[in-house]
Symmetry: D2
C-alpha cells in the first residue's frame, strides 16, 4: 500500500490523505479499484480523528482505496468553503485516477455527523457527484445544521432525482444530532425514488464511529449490533457500485433509482402506473397485457383487472412480468420500442 | 415443548396456536418465560403461513414462548373485528399466564404487512398493550391500509406517548407496501419520544418473512443481510424486555422512552431543556449546575454556558452528568427531590 | 407444525418426539423436508433437556423437521441398547417418511457429549446411516466413553470410508470431555478422506448447548462466537445435504468424500497420485497430460513435471484441470473412460 | 497512520513494512497499541502479496498496529535464515516500541501456509516469542515442510509448555497443504495444555487469505463462513492479549495454558488430579475437601467421592469450587499456601 498526504490549503489546514492499495501482480484480476472518500465529523469546529483512519481501514480491508479529507473548520467553515474543499480534493483524485488505478465513477463518500452533512451536500449539490454516499448519524436538517455552522444550508430541499444512492445509520437516542435528521433524509430520498438503506439502532451515543473497542470504549451503553453498519455498508457498496469479478467490477445488483419513472424515455423499469397511463405504451404492451389479463387473478372477489393494476401500480412492469413469468421472451423487443417513447 | 391450538371463533375461523417451552428442571433459572405473539400478513384477505410458524420457531429458539394468531380476514375483516380477535386471544393468554409460566408484562407482538398493521394497532390502540412490537414491512398509512381493508384506520394518528417500543424492518423497494409506511411510523414514534429500532434494506421483495431458503426462494433478488432482522430483533427484545439472568428476567437496558419529559413528575431522565426551563428544578439542581459551569467548556469561542445548555438541551441530565463525571454521588438525593416536582 | 410424542419403550423410558413443519400450500416449492435427529447428552445417565428442544427449535427455524430421541440411560444403557433405540426410532421415521413428507436420505443426526458418542456411533456403526452428523463436544475415545458407560465402545476404530460427513464443535477448555476426543475424531475422518468441518472455541464450559441465554447463563465465561456453531452447522447441512430450490432440495455443493480414491472405479475425482499410478488411467489421460506438460510450470527451478505431479498428488485431477483451464471440454469423455477402469 | 518500509537485508530482499496507527489525542485512552506481525506465505519460494496488506488492513481496522515481513525465500530460504529475519525484524520493533507506542509483550504473529510454518516456528523456537500466533492453513508436518524447503524443520516436535496460544484455521479440502498439518499442530498443543482455537471449514481452496472478493474471486467454491476467521481471530486476540479499556489493555480473559500443572509451584489453577496427588496439597485443602465431600453428589449410584474426583480430575480446582460455590471466601488464603509448595 502507498500512502500520500496532500496539503490542499495550508492556511485553512485542508489536506487529503490517500491510502492506495496495490493492483495487478498477484491481485490478478484487480487492475483498478473503487474508492471511498472519508469525511470525518466534528461539528464544523474540528475534524475528528476517530472518524478518519479507523473508517479508512475498514474499507481498505474490503479492497477499496481510501481518502481522508481534512476540510475547513472553525473560523474557516463559512459555507461553501468545506464543499469547495471537497470539490478540489475530488478534482485532485480524478486527475490522478489513471496513475492511481481508481475507477473514476466508483468513488463513494462517507461522512459522520457534520461530516455527514458535508457528504450529503456532495451527494446533492456538488459538481463532482459521488457514486454513493454513506451517512453516519448525519446533520441534515436546517436547524441542526445551523447549530454547527450558521452559513451552511439544510440538505433536505436539495435532494432530487439526481441524488446518488445513500446508506444511513444512526442511534435512535443520539442526543447531539436528533434522529429526526436521518428520518427527514430518507423521507426526501423516498420522494425522489432514490435507492437507500437505513439502519437506526435503538440506543447508543452520538459519534460512535466504527464502535470498535479501540475507538469507542467497550463499556459504552450501546448494542453489540451497532457495529454491523460497517460490514453492511461494505456489502451495500458492492450492491450499488458492483463487486470484484474476473473482468473488473461487475454490474451493480441494486440500481440507483427504484423505478425509471423520472427517466427521459419509457422502459420496462417504469412503474405499471406510469406505463398504463401512457396510450403509446399501452399499444406497445398490448401482447403482454393480453397475457396478464389471463394469468393475473385478482386478490379479492369483485376486483377487476384494472383495480389489480392500480393496486400493483407502484411495481415496475419488469418485476411483475418476471414474477408471473409473462412475456419474458419479448423483453428485448418491448424495451426497444418503449425506449423510443418520451416519458412525459 | 407443549403445543395447543385454541379455536377462538369457529365461524370466522379465528384461532390461537400456542408453543410453550418447558420451564424449570434443567432450565434451572427459567421459571417463567417472555413470549411473542405472531400476527401473519395477507392483506386482511388471508393469514399467510409463511409468516406464522417460521417466525414462531425463530423466537422459540431464543427461549421465548410463541403464539400465532389466525384472525378474521376477507368478509370478516371489518374493523375492529381483527383487533377484537387480538384482545380475546391476549385475554386468553393472560388468564393462563400462571399455568403457562409466562410473564404477563413481557409479551411482544410481531406482525407482517397487514399483520404489521394489526400489530401496530395493538401497540397504539389496544386495551391489552404488548410490551414491545416488531413490525415487518407494516401497513401503516391510511391509504395503504384502505387498499387492504377499507374500514381499518391508519396508524399514524394513534401513536402517542403510551405506544410501546417498536422494531421496524422493511425493504426499500417493496412495491406492495411502500416504504413510506415505515418512514411515517418512525416519524410518529420519534415525535412522542418512543424508543424504536429500524432497518430498511436496500432491496428485496415484499413479504420476505425470515428470508430463510425454506420460506423465500434462495435465488430471490435480495441482500444476504436482509435476514439479519431476525437475530437483531431478538437482541432488541432482550434490550427492551430484559434478558435471562439467574433471578428471572433482568432489567431492560433500553427504556421505552428516550427521555422522561412526558412523565407526570420530573427526574434526572428529563431532558436538560425541560429541567432548565423549570425554576423549581433549577433550585434543586443548583449544586450540580455550579460544577457544570466549572467543568463544561463551550464547544466554540463566544459560546456561553447557557448557549451550551441549549445545544445539549435534548440530552437527559443523567446522561450528561455521567458522561462528564459530575455529581454522580448526588444522584439519589437529586432524583428524590425532582420526583416531588410536577412536570408541567 | 404438528408435534407427536411416540413412546418406543415404556420400561426403558425411550421416546421419540417429532416436530413436523407444514409442507405445500404457501410453502410452494417445499413438498418434502430434510430432517435432524437430535440426541441429547447426559453421560448415559440421563437425557439432558437443555440439549433437546432448544436444539430442535434451531433447526426447525431453518426449515428442517426435527426429532428428539430420549434413549436408554442409567441401568438400561448397556451397549448396544442406546444404539438399538436409535435404529428403532429411525425405522419408525423411515416407515412414515412419505406420510410425514420427509426425505429418507436427508436425515442428519446431532448429538451432544454422550449423545455425541451415540450420534458418532450412528455415523460409523448403525444399520440406518444418517446423511450427516453434527457432533457437539462428543465423547469419542474409549477411555472417555468408559467413564460414561463401561460397555460402550470407543468410536475411533469404527471410522472408515463409509462414515458420513461430520461437523464437530467443542470448547478447548472442556474439563469433562477432553478436547482430545474431538481431535481423535477428525484425525480418523481425515485418514479415510471423509468430509468434515470442525470448530474448537478457545474456552467455555462443557455442555454449553446452543449457548443461548435461556440455556446457558449469560454470565458464563465463554466467547460470544461460541454460539456460531448453530448458524454454521445449518449452512454446512445445506452444503452436504443440499439447499431448498424450486425443484426440491438441490445438489450438495460439498461431497461426502474429499477424493474418489476409495471408490470402486476410477474417475476425475480421484487424486492425481492415484490416477498417475495406474497405467490404464495414464493411457486414457494422455491428451490432457500432454497439455499439462506444456502449461504447468514447476514451482521451483530444477523441478521436473513428475516432481510437480508428486507435489500436487493429493489434489483431484478435476480440480487441477479446472484451475488451470486444461481439457475441460474433454471431461465427459474422459470420465466415461475412467469409470470403466477398476480402482485397484 | 504512519507507514514505514524498512529494508532489513537488501541482498536477500528482506523488508519490514510498518503500519502505525495514531495514539493519544482523540484516541483518549489509547496510549499504546498491541500489534500483529504478518508473515505471508508462498512455499518459501516467494512472499504472497495476497497474504500481506489485506491481512494487515483487517487488524489495523481493529486497532492493532501491523507489520508485514518479507523474508528470505527461494535460494535464500535455507533454514534458519527466514527465522533469523523474523528475529531481526522483531528486535527492530522492540527497539522502537516506546517511540512507536507499542506494547512489547502484546505482539502476535500471523502467518499463512509456509508463512504459517514460519509463524509456528516463531511460536515454538524463536528467541523473541510472540504473545500469540494465528496460523492460516499452516505447513506444520516435516513432510509438508520439506516439500517447501528441504532444510526447514517440522514444527510438531518443537511444541512444548512454553509455546504461545495459537489460533488455527484451514480448509478441510486444502489440496496443497493437507489438513493433517493443522490436526497435528492442535494435537501437539493439547498435549502441552496450550490454549488454542481452531476452525476447519468443510471446503475451499488453499491460500484463500481473508476470502474477501478483492483477494479471492467471488465465484470460488468455498462457504461464505470461511471469512469468519478474520473477525473470530480478532476477538480471540482480545481474549488472549486483553482488550482496550480506560486503563490501557485489560487482562486477558483466556489464559495461555489450560491448567497450571506445568508451573513451578502449585495453585488453585492446577488440575484436581494434580492437587489430589500431592500430600502437602491435600493437607492445605482439607477444609474445602470436607465441604466437597458433603456437597458433591456422585453422578451414578455406587460411585465414591474418590471416583468422582478421578472423573473430574482434569478440571482445575478453582473451576470446580466456583461452579459448586464451595470455599470461595478461602481462595486467597489457599492460593498463598499452595504457591509455597513445589509442583513436583
Amino acid at each position: 500500500m502507498k500512502t500520500e498526504c496532500i496539503v490542499l490549503n495550508r492556511e485553512r489546514n485542508v489536506s487529503l490523505t490517500a491510502y492506495l492499495l496495490d493492483v495487478g501482480g498477484e491481485f490478478r484480476y484487480v487492475n483498478k479499484r473503487p474508492a471511498v472518500f472519508v469525511i470525518p465529523g466534528g461539528g464544523y469546529q474540528f475534524c475528528s480523528d476517530r472518524e478518519a483512519d479507523p473508517v479508512a481501514m475498514a474499507f481498505l480491508q474490503a479492497g477499496y482505496d481510501a481518502f481522508v479529507l481534512r476540510y475547513s473548520v472553525g473560523q474557516n467553515a463559512k459555507w461553501p468553503t468545506p464543499l469547495a474543499d471537497y470539490e478540489e480534493a475530488m478534482q485532485y483524485i480524478l486527475d490522478r485516477a489513471d496513475e492511481w488505478h481508481i475507477y473514476r465513477d466508483k468513488i463513494a463518500v462517507i461522512g459522520f455527523s457534520a461530516g455527514g452533512h458535508l457528504a450529503a451536500a456532495c451527494a446533492t449539490m456538488a459538481e463532482h457527484r459521488p457514486a454513493a454516499a454513506i451517512l453516519g448519524y448525519p446533520v441534515i436538517r436546517e436547524d441542526t445544521t445551523h447549530e454547527c455552522e450558521k452559513t451552511a444550508p439544510g440538505i433536505v430541499s436539495h435532494v432530487n432525482e439526481k441524488t446518488c444512492p445513500c446508506f444511513l445509520f444512526a442511534s435512535r437516542t443520539d442526543d447531539v444530532v436528533p434522529i429526526q435528521n436521518t428520518i427527514d433524509m430518507i423521507n426526501a430520498l423516498n420522494a425522489y425514488q432514490i435507492s437507500f438503506e437505513c439502519h437506526i439502532y435503538a440506543y447508543g451515543p452520538h459519534g460512535f464511529s466504527t464502535a470498535d473497542s479501540s475507538v469507542q470504549p467497550a463499556h459504552t451503553k450501546m448494542p453489540a449490533r451497532i457495529s454491523d453498519w460497517v460490514k453492511d455498508s461494505i456489502c451495500w457498496l458492492k450492491d450499488v457500485m458492483g463487486d470484484y469479478s474476473q473482468d473488473g467490477l461487475g454490474d451493480p445488483v441494486c440500481k440507483a433509482k427504484v423505478t425509471a419513472d423520472s427517466d427521459a424515455w419509457l422502459s420496462l423499469d417504469c412503474s405499471i402506473g406510469r406505463l398504463f397511463g401512457n396510450p403509446e405504451a399501452l399499444r406497445i404492451l398490448a401482447p403482454v397485457i393480453l397475457e396478464m389479463r389471463r394469468k393475473i387473478k385478482p386478490f379479492a372477489p369483485g376486483m377487476t383487472f384494472e383495480d389489480m393494476m392500480q393496486t400493483l401500480g407502484k411495481m415496475t412492469l419488469r418485476n411483475l412480468l418476471i414474477e408471473r413469468q409473462i412475456g419474458v421472451e419479448l423483453f428485448d423487443e418491448l424495451e426497444k420500442k418503449l425506449q423510443a417513447v418520451p416519458n412525459i
